[in-house]
């Protein structure tokens, strides 16, 4: 018996397009050449399709972006997506796969600013590890699990619980494949309740410069999806 759902929004790309992603107001799909965003059947976490975000981030120091953006999202929710990296990348400056952004004025789009970046960096052995960069402090958030390794050529899930409170009840907790990696609690977050969540492929100075991030089964939920959860019947 189907008892219902805590899934507020989801995008599985199973329509072969971005219609699910753009079904909510103020959603955007960005990928200006040489970068690209497309739905492809070359990869899929579930079903037949996934979104492929490609960038060409050479050594010229230019930031390259391919992103799927959602603005005006819930003040308190779980934000989950599955990622696939077809190959490993040597990160020169930075490489991001997700973001939370803020607005200093909730009604003014031009007041958008970065808040938390979900970064991939190389460990000494070259493996990719996940970290969360806090633009307010200019530092990475302390890790619960030291140097959480992100697999290559294997689907992995990044899920975040974000409570954008303006008092000491704010919270950002991040899980990688169900393992808690960051747990930031008891502090104010953005200056107002406005939330932007982006699934991205943003990089500067990557080797090779052509970097691909594949994304599937994105969801905003009121309870954890977790590695075994499902966002569609």
């Amino acid at each position: 018996m189907d008892l219902g759902s805590n899934v507020l929004w989801s995008s599985t790309f199973e329509g072969g397009n971005f219609d699910e992603w753009t079904s909510v107001p103020d959603a955007r799909v960005d990928g200006i050449p040489p970068n690209s965003t497309k739905v492809s059947s070359d990869y899929a976490h579930h079903g037949k399709y996934a979104a492929v975000l490609g960038i060409d981030a050479g050594s010229d120091g230019t930031q390259q972006n391919a992103s799927l953006d959602l603005r005006g999202q819930p003040v308190e929710a779980y934000y989950s997506a599955w990622y696939y990296l077809p190959r490993t990348i040597s990160v020169g400056t930075f490489w991001l796969i997700s973001k939370f952004r803020l607005r200093t004025n909730a009604t003014d789009p031009s007041s958008s600013q970065e808040l938390f970046d979900f970064r991939l960096s190389n460990a000494r052995d070259g493996s990719l590890t996940l970290s969360i960069y806090d633009h307010r402090t200019g530092k990475e958030l302390p890790l619960v699990t030291p140097a959480p390794v992100v697999p290559v050529s294997v689907w992995f899930q990044v899920e975040a619980f974000y409570r954008n409170a303006q008092d000491a009840t704010g919270q950002l907790t991040v899980w990688l494949d169900g393992r808690k990696v960051v747990d930031l609690q008891a502090q104010p977050m953005a200056p107002n309740p406005w939330v932007e969540w982006d699934v991205v492929n943003v990089g500067v100075n990557l080797t090779p410069s052509a970097a691909t991030v594949v994304v599937d089964d994105c969801a905003i939920t009121l309870s954890r999806v977790g590695p075994t959860g499902t966002i569609s019947p």
């Binding site: 189907d2 008892l3 805590n6 309870s223 499902t230 019947p233």
Partner: protein, 317 residues
Amino acid sequence: MLSLAVTLGWAGEATATDEGADPAALIGGDSRCPLPFAVWQRLVPLVPGDLLRERLTAAAEPGGSAPGSARPIQILDLGPSFLVIAGHRIREYPEPARDCAERARFAALFIAIATGADPARNDAAAVPPANTPVVSVVAAPVMSERQPRLRLDVGATAAAALDGSKAAIPPGLAVRLAFPMGRLVPVVALGVVGPSDSSTRGVDLRQWQGTVDLDLRSGVRSMGRLRAYSEIGAVLEVLADRSTNLSAASSQLSYAVGPRLAVAAFIATNGSLSPFLLLYGAWFPFAPERFALPAGDLGRAAPWTVGVTGGVSWGLR
């Protein structure tokens, strides 16, 4: 059955020799006035020996002896009165003078009449005075063993659904109808239990359970005033589930069928109402599967239910 066999055995011994018959085996009770032996002495002249044995045997047939006793005749001394029980018949005589000989005579006469003898043929003097007030004459035993035509059990229930997680024990109501027709009694019952709150994989659930069961009830076994029986049958459960913490929850009905076992006891009373207690268990091998997003599979509903029902059983004749 044991009681009947023992009783018939005693009756058989009495046939061998009336003189050798043991009155203690036929006439019971704790009466000091009259003594059972004194009643026996008065009874033998009233009824021929073999006839007396035959009739006392008949009085010992199922339902014919006093409940909880192997003796077909019971004499009870109630102080200013005394009680005589002969099979289905009971009579209480007021006798404040406590004339034990007179009491024995009255008791013997009543037993002779109750067992079908004609006392005038043997001892007309034994007929009680016309003005002897009869306090009560009961055609049926005080605690009748006759099965009612219908037995209605109404009670409160507490049931636990066992699915490996912490078991809730919600309250409920049960109505059971039994149709005594022989050794096995068909039973149809309705029950409702709830609400039961549980949590699985972060999904909080509230459940109501309705049941319809069809059972066969065994013959009643007597243990003093206690009557015990068992039931075996099948139960259909209807589950109404709703999540209490999903943003988009939907109420769902589901069904399951399984075998059911129960043991129960009630206390025999003078009236038609008897308190009862019933313990039961049911197994649902194909309990419904539950699903919610994003948790996914929430597992099956509880495959086991155990419960207890207590209430009143009403025998309708």
